[in-house]
């Protein structure tokens, strides 16, 4: 909750007010949320039973790996009644020609009548000055996707502050949502509030990514932002949460 510091002095003499945007820091408790990332190597937790959406890491295209797609999950997830997203961690956009097909085949494997796949999320740290290029990459990837799959991307907070508007709007045209990370490791990114203040101007539906057990201060006016769609919590293995470090 925002804590407003009214200055009686200023009110009396100036008819205005000064206020502070300093807020309370809270620990992210996964049970308070309904959307989660499940990364490779992270053991599923009971909290997933309450999930409305789950973003499951399925594979990656690593830099230095000749643009190849590698699967990271030994078995196909079998979860119904949630929005299921297949996440691909991407370090380079220079994909070998087979990659888009491989991802699509995997998506079709995940997508079954009784447990439909909502869409694909591309997790790529596009440089802020490269958003237009990223958008055109996504446009061509999207063309290879059947219409029933949505397209989500993860985003960098820096985009909102320093991305040029035409690049951002090109991205907005091609994706259904973007999820912005507010943390680095377990810690909230220092100075993240400055970036968050700019999210209001983002032309696309967005969510904010938190990390389970991490620190989070909800900024002012987030709920007023018309494009804000809630949070996604990155799950970590439980002993880490208890350790609280």
């Amino acid at each position: 909750m925002a804590r407003l510091l009214f200055l009686s002095f200023a009110l009396l003499f100036l008819g205005g007010c000064g206020r502070s945007a300093i807020q309370e820091t809270q620990t992210v408790v996964a049970e308070d949320y309904d959307s989660f990332w499940l990364w490779a190597g992270v053991k599923p937790q009971p909290v997933l039973d309450q999930a409305r959406s789950i973003y499951i890491l399925a594979g990656e295209v690593r830099a230095g790996d000749a643009g190849r797609f590698r699967q990271l999950r030994p078995a196909t997830p079998d979860v119904a009644a949630v929005d299921l997203w297949l996440v691909v961690r991407v370090e380079t956009l220079e994909w070998s020609p087979a990659v888009a097909d491989e991802i699509l085949r995997l998506a079709e494997k995940w997508d079954r009548r009784d447990r439909p796949l909502t869409g694909i999320q591309i997790d790529f740290d596009a440089r802020t000055d490269g958003l237009e290029g990223y958008a055109s990459f996504l446009r061509s990837f999207r063309q290879s996707l059947p219409d029933r799959f949505k397209l989500s991307i993860t985003g960098l907070l820096d985009w909102s502050a320093n991305g040029d508007p035409s690049g951002l709007s090109a991205l907005a045209d091609v994706v259904d949502e973007a999820v912005f990370q507010t943390y680095q490791g377990r810690a909230t990114i220092p100075g993240y509030e400055r970036w968050l203040a700019r999210l209001r101007d983002l032309p696309m539906p967005f969510r904010l990514g938190l990390v389970q057990g991490g620190q989070w201060q909800e900024p002012d006016h987030l709920d007023d932002m018309p494009n804000f769609r809630g949070y996604v919590v990155f799950l970590v293995n439980p002993s880490r949460v208890r350790a609280g470090d």
Binding site: I56, A63, A66, R70, K109, D125, R127, D129, G185, N237
Partner: protein, 702 residues
């Protein structure tokens, strides 16, 4: 501006597993440009065996013998990631696909199984034509889907028409195979079992193999949870897994040259993994790693498997006599305990006596035993003298395999650790034999570090310098070079353009923020007329991410000559501001304008202002004299100075308050002030200068 890493805490595991690869890798790409010998940092692998390397990298290096990556692959690089090295040593075929239609499930043999079946049916003599056609047609009608079993029945009902004994046997095989793909392993095992005495040889052999496969699959029905996560050995059907082991072994014994030998041998590894039988598993890996050709798999694929399947369950003593696996595990156990998820409880490091007990097992690899003892002395016991006593100087060879190279690298590090004056000479000698992939950059890194620490940064840039790896030179220019060296590099016509531009950029930025105004004006003349104006430079190569830019970003020198900082406060261009400051450094208006330039051009919280950590290259001391300009401190001075004009003072108050906007965090450097002070500034601006545009514009403080 900073690039923020997203999922820095992901942990990578490989496809066919389900076990957290606690040991090998995660998504940290940050290159710290420091020796990182004992802490896992997967972006920071080095071409020497060390505990902090990815376990896969160490095992691959150990298995190379005298083989080396090409000099071209490692050129310009110091650190690397696992795929860079593995692809360089073992390029995968161009048509590599990790994900064929049915991969990662038992359905991966649907197509090959069909072809084999059709061939076998065709090979049967005396089968009525109608039965032959029927069997082939029915087999071709089957397209089972292991993701959605039970869905597929194909044309099996038509098999009732089969009359001959062999025809009926093949029919039983088909219904059993369909049951297998559909996940009905009881039916499958029963059906295949009824065929092991069949007259047809193909049916006999294949069914025996399929019984074991069926049991293997039965054992893991509940082994993976709804999210595709392996639940561990306790979730595996132990009766079925023992059947599978017996079945594969029986098959291998009865059919030593059988068609499924290779597959049965490979599936036995899966059996041992599911059964949690680490000793058999490690013996099997020792066997296949010494002759990977027989598996049909590339060495890196097998190494990845070792990482996923063997390493997580490895206990001391569970590896037999394989020198490379023993060494990989020993180095792993010298690591500083680290686990991004906290699952791993800190385990004590391996003891020297445990390594000594390996002497005989390691005897097949000369030099390895001493290397492990020396590594233990260096990384665990913190005894570099012991390293020098264990590993003799052998730095004059024309080239090195990775083990011999590791020995000399460790010796060099020990020389540095004891402060030996000959360390530099040692690196120079070693460099001559280190042209192979990833070796040269590493020795150059050691040398650059040595030079930085002995106040000889200029030697790195001497005409005959052997430190040529660009990223190392850039780090030193950014953080360690003083004005004279930067100016020399900026003017050096023989230097590459990027280095020249970077030297000038750093020089101008530091002169501006260290208040060396007249030097700034002189050096500004070096900026070419066609220089770019972009946002402030961010050096991806040295700072972050993947370490090596594909296309280096241009250095925007035009920021110092062409940036337009005009605002409501009415500042002139930067050059004029600095001219004022050169004659009167404390001129309030010029200081406010310098602040406006830095703010508007995007230099708040600039990465160049943050010196790397002491242990990193570039972390020794900044080469520039004087203290750093801070906007907040400049505003404080102007606010405190009662002689300041009302206009300047009102603007300084306004800007000082904005240092904390819009979120309460200072972006102006200098010493923090509390919220009370900001409130006081706000009141003062409003009360003393009510008619100023700055008082009117400001509605809040932060």
């Amino acid at each position: 501006m900073r690039f923020i890493r997203i999922f820095s805490i992901g942990l990578m595991i490989w496809a066919t597993t389900g076990v957290p690869a606690q040991a090998s890798s995660d998504y940290f790409h940050q290159r710290t440009w420091a020796w990182n010998g004992r802490e896992l940092s997967p972006g920071n692998n080095l071409a020497m065996l060390q505990p902090g390397n990815d376990t896969r990298v160490n095992l691959l290096l150990l298995l190379q013998g005298d083989r080396r990556a090409s000099a071209t692959d490692g050129k310009g690089k110091v650190f690397f990631e696992w795929p860079e090295l593995s692809n360089s040593l073992y390029p995968a075929p161009a048509d590599f696909e990790s994900n064929s239609r049915y991969s990662h499930s038992r359905c991966q043999t649907v197509d090959t199984g069909r072809d084999a079946f059709v061939q076998a049916v065709r090979a049967v003599k005396n089968m009525p034509e109608m039965e032959r056609d029927l069997l082939i047609a029915v087999r071709r009608s089957l397209s089972p889907d292991c993701e959605e079993p039970t869905a597929s029945v194909g044309g099996v009902t038509r098999l009732a028409a089969l009359q001959s004994q062999t025809g009926r046997d093949f029919g039983v095989y088909l219904t059993s195979a369909l049951a297998f793909y559909n996940g009905d392993f009881d039916t499958a095992t029963k059906g295949f079992s009824s065929l092991v005495q069949a007259k047809n040889d193909w049916l006999k052999e294949t069914s025996l193999y399929m019984i074991a496969r069926s049991e293997l699959n039965r054992s893991q029905v509940r082994a993976f949870d709804d999210y595709g996560y392996f639940d561990g050995t306790s979730a595996v059907d132990q009766g079925a897994i023992r059947n599978a082991e017996r079945g594969f072994n029986l098959y291998r014994k009865i059919y030593p040259k059988g068609s499924y030998q290779q597959s049965a041998k490979g599936l036995l590894r899966r059996v041992y993994w599911l059964a949690g039988d680490t000793e058999k598993l490690s013996a099997e890996y020792g066997d296949v790693l010494s002759g990977p050709g027989a598996t049909g798999l590339l060495l890196p694929v097998l190494i990845q498997e070792v990482d996923d399947k063997l390493l997580p369950n490895l206990a001391p003593g569970s590896i037999a006599n394989d020198p490379e696996l023993l060494a990989m595990a020993a180095l792993y156990r010298m690591r500083k305990p680290y686990d991004p998820y906290g699952e791993e409880k800190p385990k004590p490091a391996i003891g020297r006596s445990e390594i000594e007990a390996m002497r005989d097992s390691l005897s097949g690899r000369p030099g390895l035993f001493e290397y492990l003892l020396a590594a233990h002395a260096f990384y665990v016991a913190n005894d570099p003298k012991m390293v020098l006593a264990t590993i003799r100087d052998d730095a004059r060879r024309p080239n090195y395999g990775y083990l011999d190279f590791s020995r000399q690298m460790l010796r060099g590090r020990a020389l540095e650790a004891v402060g030996d004056r000959n360390a530099r000479g040692f690196w120079l000698q070693l460099l001559a034999g280190s042209e192979s992939g990833y070796q040269r950059g590493l020795v150059e890194f050691a040398l650059a570090r040595n030079l930085e620490r002995s106040d000889s940064v200029a030697d790195v840039f001497a005409a005959d310098s052997v430190v040529q790896t660009p990223v190392l030179r850039e780090i030193l220019l950014q953080y360690s070079a003083g004005p004279a060296l930067l100016r020399r590099q900026a003017k050096d016509a023989k230097a590459v353009k990027r280095e020249r531009d970077l030297a000038l950029y750093v020089l101008l930025y530091r002169e501006l923020t260290h208040r060396d105004y007249s030097a700034f004006l002189d050096d500004l003349k070096l900026v070419p007329a066609d220089a770019n104006v972009l946002e402030p430079f961010y050096n991806l190569s040295t700072e972050n991410n993947y370490g090596y830019e594909v296309e280096p970003a241009p250095v925007p020198l035009g920021l110092f000559t062409k940036f337009d900082e005009s605002s409501a406060f009415g500042c002139p261009r930067l050059k004029q501001t600095v001219q004022t400051l050169a004659s009167s450094p404390n001129d309030p208006r010029a200081q406010l304008c310098l602040g406006d330039y830095l703010r508007m051009a995007g230099f708040d919280d600039y990465w160049l202002d943050e010196q790397p950590k002491t242990e990193s290259l570039g972390g020794q001391k900044q080469g520039f004299p004087g203290s750093q300009f801070s906007r907040l401190e400049a505003y404080k001075r102007i606010i405190a100075d009662r002689r300041s004009s009302p206009e300047n003072r009102a603007y300084a108050l306004y800007r000082a308050i904005w240092c904390y906007g819009p979120a309460g965090k200072n972006s102006c450097g200098g010493e923090e002030v509390g919220q009370g002070q900001r409130a006081a500034w706000f009141r003062e601006l409003k009360i003393r200068y009510p008619s100023s545009q700055w008082a009117q514009k400001l509605k809040f403080y932060w």
